[in-house]
């Protein structure tokens, strides 16, 4: 069975290590916070200016002055801090954030990512994504393997305007975990019950398949 969005988030949560400061993008990445082991210490950064994000507030306790980058009302945990936008991006550009997890419309076998614009159709802007992908050393993309028309989102080259050059190292989709190397995509894990053939068929970019490809352990 291909994973749902929560399944993708659950698998990515295994990449979050003790002591990490983590930036989560909008969409599937936001769900990762729900699955991080509770025996490790992790702080979530939101680029609008908070470190130490907690869960959503209880009804009636929403504070319009405390939101995340998706403009959702949030809470903070003990030890949290607030800061201005320039300092927030000092954390990001200065490589103080250990892990960035974000969504994408396309990823290419050379590590390029596109997630901010569909010419003539959708122009919402890049927000902090270009700063994040240009500086983060550890970027994981969370996305569905194919788009709504069934076309692969893992390509030889991005067809949409790119957000960053050669920056993605790992992709977790509803079908697979893949690394991006100088030799293109490398298939590392399969979603439970998903065959290698299925993944090969859903991947348009160059895909290297090792002799054994274990199932994800989630």
């Amino acid at each position: 069975m291909a994973l749902d969005k929560n399944g993708i988030a659950k698998r990515i949560a295994q990449e979050v290590n003790d002591g990490y400061y983590v930036n989560l993008g909008i969409g599937i990445p936001t769900l990762v916070a729900n699955y991080v082991r509770d025996d490790i210490s992790v702080e979530f950064q939101s680029e609008n200016g908070v470190l130490g994000m907690g869960p959503f507030p209880f009804e009636g306790e929403e504070d319009p002055d405390i939101i995340n980058a998706g403009k959702q009302t949030i809470t903070t945990l003990p030890g949290a801090s607030f800061f201005d936008s320039a300092m927030s991006f000092s954390m990001i550009r200065g490589k103080h954030v250990h892990l960035t997890i974000l969504g994408a419309m396309e990823v290419a076998e050379n590590g390029d990512i596109a997630n901010w614009k569909i010419p003539g159709k959708m122009v919402k802007g890049m927000g902090g994504a270009m700063d994040l992908v240009a500086s983060a050393e550890n970027i994981i993309v969370a996305m569905m393997h194919t788009n709504k028309r069934g076309e692969s989102k893992l390509l030889e080259r991005c067809s949409l305007p790119i957000t960053g050059v050669g920056c993605v190292k790992k992709v977790v989709t509803n079908l697979a975990v893949l690394d991006i190397t100088s030799d293109g995509f490398v298939l590392r894990e399969r979603a439970p019950g998903v065959s290698v053939e299925e993944i090969v068929n859903a991947t348009a970019g160059k895909l290297h398949v090792p002799d054994t490809v274990p199932e994800m352990n989630i």
Binding site: P57, F58, P64, I66, F82, V123, M130, D131, V165
Partner: protein, 233 residues
């Protein structure tokens, strides 16, 4: 102490005119200078260039200025919440420059701090880098970005004193501190205006030297864009 207090938003906005460049604090609708935006949206000033991370929603925030077609050009990082914005952009009525959020913050900060320009890796190899100078540092490509040059900066703080010292609250801080002192005139509106001496100097986020005019804001709607809650157990 130098007194920066003005009586109201009208006095605070004295000197605004058509074709000027304004900077606005706020992220989404959080921490926006509601009083200044409301006032500006009722003035006969047009052809404005506005620097703001977002463009408000259709009937609030900078959406109010967009409705009256007062804005000629927007410089933002994310504009996804405003249908009128999208319509004006796609029809070519509105000129839009989308730039990375960190670059936007740093172009404010550079103006505040007296740096004419800086290099950043954000946007290298993308549409954002088109026509910009590229330089390599430590094996990595960077692009040259310039400080903003604006006439007015409008910010909103939680507390302020008559000397213009400011304290922000929560994530309503966002771009507000970076815009203070980045334009020729910084106008600060606050929820609580207090006499000098009441704020602890250790707790001040922005010293009054960066603020030219300060006033007590009147009503704050503080609209929430995405109300998200969890059930009580």
């Amino acid at each position: 102490m130098i007194n920066k207090t003005v009586a109201n938003v009208e006095e605070a906005c004295q000197g605004v005119a058509s074709d000027m460049t304004f900077m606005f604090g706020g992220f989404g609708l959080s921490g926006i200078p509601e009083n200044a935006i409301g006032y500006l949206s009722k003035q006969d000033i047009y052809g404005l260039t506005c620097v703001s991370n977002n463009a408000g929603v259709d009937d609030f925030g900078l959406g109010l200025l967009l409705q009256r077609k007062q804005i000629k050009k927007m410089i933002s990082s994310y504009v996804g919440e405003n249908a009128e914005f999208e319509r004006q952009m796609l029809s070519g009525e509105l000129d839009v420059e989308l730039i990375p959020q960190g670059t936007l913050a740093e172009r404010c900060r550079a103006a505040q701090a007296g740096f004419p320009a800086f290099y950043t890796p954000a946007g290298y190899g993308t549409e954002v880098a088109e026509g910009k100078e590229v330089r390599e540092f430590n094996g990595k490509k960077h692009i040259l970005e310039y400080a903003f040059d604006a006439d007015f900066g409008f910010v909103k703080a939680w507390k302020g004193d008559t000397a213009g010292n400011l304290i922000f609250k929560g994530t309503a801080r966002n771009f507000n501190p970076n815009i203070c002192g980045a334009a020729k005139i910084t106008v600060a509106e606050v929820e609580h205006l207090v006499p000098v001496g009441e704020l602890d100097p250790n707790q001040i986020h922005i010293p009054g030297i960066f603020v030219q005019r300060i006033f007590q804001g009147v009503v704050y709607e503080k609209r929430i864009e995405q109300r998200t809650v969890r059930p009580r157990e």
